[in-house]
């Protein structure tokens, strides 16, 4: 198989189209695996609490990034939270986007957590999203143990 070099405009130079395409298998780690397993098996979102600064982190991790001490206190979080910020992506990038644009992303502070969780927003009018909106996690029917086991967060109707 050959690569067809292309002219770069009228510069007299060539472009050589190629790619770096490689499969990866990232290890999630013990803490992350438990986080995903709970979502997968029980549809529950857990955070982890630092005994020193008392922040509850989600996604959970082994070491508190702020205090650099180990964390072991798991905290079950609500599946509902408040939208801190959002955007609607209106351009297409082949290969990396989970949905056809336009699609909405937000950072959600789940009740009980100190940090925000970045995720998709669904069942929502893309022209009527606002900071402070209450949203709730919608889980996928078939879950694989990854970030998209949460399908998206949808607005909670008062």
């Amino acid at each position: 198989m050959s690569v067809q070099s292309e002219e770069l405009g009228n510069t007299g130079t060539l472009i050589y189209p190629s790619r770096i395409k490689l499969p990866y298998t990232w290890h999630v780690g013990k803490v992350g695996s438990r986080f995903y397993q709970e979502i997968k098996d029980n549809g529950k979102i857990w955070g982890i609490k630092c005994s020193k600064c008392e922040w509850v982190f989600v996604p959970p991790r082994e070491t508190c990034p702020r205090c650099y001490c180990d964390m072991s206190e798991w905290v079950e979080l609500s599946d509902t939270g408040t939208l801190l910020t959002y955007t609607v992506t209106r351009y297409a990038v082949p290969g990396i986007q989970p949905l056809e644009p336009p699609f909405a992303l937000g950072i959600i502070k789940l009740d009980g957590a100190s940090t925000g969780l970045v995720h998709l927003l669904g069942e929502i009018d893309l022209n009527d999203i606002s900071v402070g909106l209450r949203v709730k996690a919608v889980f996928r029917e078939v879950r694989e143990g990854n970030y998209l086991d949460i399908k998206y967060f949808k607005p909670v109707r008062a």
Partner: protein
């Protein structure tokens, strides 16, 4: 800190699709910076290259420019990050007393790859990466967060874009120099609201080099060394959700360190010109706050006042900034090169009169997670 002077600078013209290869543009700025400093490659006793394996599409990407920068001829470090970090590494080599003259070269050809694919790889592969995050929509989350917390408006952000693209008209190296209006920005295509096309920086190829020397050598080799007065760098938390995206703690910390070293207590008064990493229009406002040029949330009003325009009390990005030329990795080093030209009084039509202290700033990662601040002076 022992005195280290910048005695040579060079940039390519920034443009989409520079026909020169990585090595060819690296050689262009290497030889021009040597010329500017009145040196030959044999005078250089160590070299810092700035490369990134993702943007360059190559593992050990520094190999691409090793020979073109002459870095095979002297001790070398390859920094992967913004060019300001490369300059910092070079500064440290000189301050160690083990080297006399450092060449720092950054180059990039952003038009080779797909920026959103490359910036998607910034995000944690086991978590947020699957959401399709990239530099643009993550910045949109930050811009919204900033606007919503402090009441800064899209118009105020747009004014930055108008100012910088206009400034770029006086910069022969700039990629996108143009007269636009606030309305043009507001009406430009929405990419990821609230970010619109004219809030973003272009995809630019380009290179920049600077040459630094220890005090005695700098004075001997060059009539007008520009001295490095202070430097600081700092990183914020990684996960976007761990940060209050409207805040600028890491920048404030980096700036504090740099100011302390440079003896700057009131940056707004003591700094005469600043080149900051405005990858998006709103960033210039946030970085003004992080740099302590105004209170939190007050940058919008400061831009309204015209203070940061050419002729204002503290012109920001007379070069047109990153909004007018965004060669990633290079852009921070270009900020340093531009401030050197300002302090030498060689900035041509973009010269800020009487500038004797300047600030150059680079960022690293998503939404300005990392910052590096340089203070330079005559």
């Amino acid at each position: 800190m022992e005195k280290v002077g910048i005695i040579g600078v060079a940039q390519t013209k920034y443009q989409r699709y520079n026909p020169a290869s990585h090595a060819e543009s690296a050689y262009e700025v290497t030889s021009k910076s040597l010329e500017d400093a009145g040196l030959t490659i044999d005078d250089i006793d160590n070299t810092i290259t700035v490369c990134n394996d993702f943007w360059d599409g190559r593992t050990i990407s520094s190999m691409t420019i090793t020979e073109a920068t002459g870095s095979h001829k002297s001790p070398t470090t390859n920094v992967e990050g913004d060019g300001t970090y490369g300059a910092l590494m070079g500064l440290m080599r000189l301050l160690s007393g083990l080297h006399e003259i450092t060449l720092v070269v950054a180059q990039s050809k952003i038009s080779e790859g797909i920026p959103s694919v490359i910036t998607n790889a910034i995000f944690d592969p086991i978590y947020e990466r699957m959401l399709g995050l990239d530099a643009i929509n993550s910045a949109a989350l930050q811009m919204r967060s900033y606007m919503s917390k402090y009441g800064v408006t899209e118009e105020q952000c747009a004014k930055v874009s108008v100012k910088n693209h206009k400034n770029a008209k006086a910069n022969p190296y700039a990629h996108l120099a143009m007269d636009i209006t606030v309305e043009d920005v507001l009406k430009s295509r929405v990419l990821a609201d609230p970010i619109k096309l004219l809030d973003t920086s272009p995809i630019s190829d380009g290179a920049c080099a600077i040459i630094m020397a220890r005090e005695r050598t700098a004075k001997r080799k060059h009539g007008k060394p520009i001295w490095i007065k202070g430097v600081g760098h700092c990183a914020d938390a990684y996960h976007l959700g761990d940060r209050d995206l409207a805040e600028v703690d890491a920048l404030a910390s980096a700036a504090k360190r740099a100011y302390k070293m440079a003896g700057i207590r009131s940056p707004l008064k003591q700094v005469h010109v600043a080149e900051v990493y405005d990858a998006f229009s709103y960033m210039e406002l946030m970085w003004m706050e992080g740099l302590g040029l105004c209170g939190r949330g007050k940058a919008g009003a400061m831009v309204d006042s015209g203070l940061t325009e050419m002729g204002g009390a503290l012109p920001i990005n007379p070069s047109g900034g990153v909004l007018s030329a965004h060669a990633v990795q290079v852009a921070g080093l270009a900020r340093i090169a531009e401030t050197v030209l300002q302090l030498r009084g060689e900035a041509g039509d973009r010269q800020v009169d009487g500038a004797s202290t300047a600030l150059a700033h680079g960022i690293e990662g998503a939404c300005g997670q990392g910052h590096c601040v340089f203070i330079l002076g005559k």
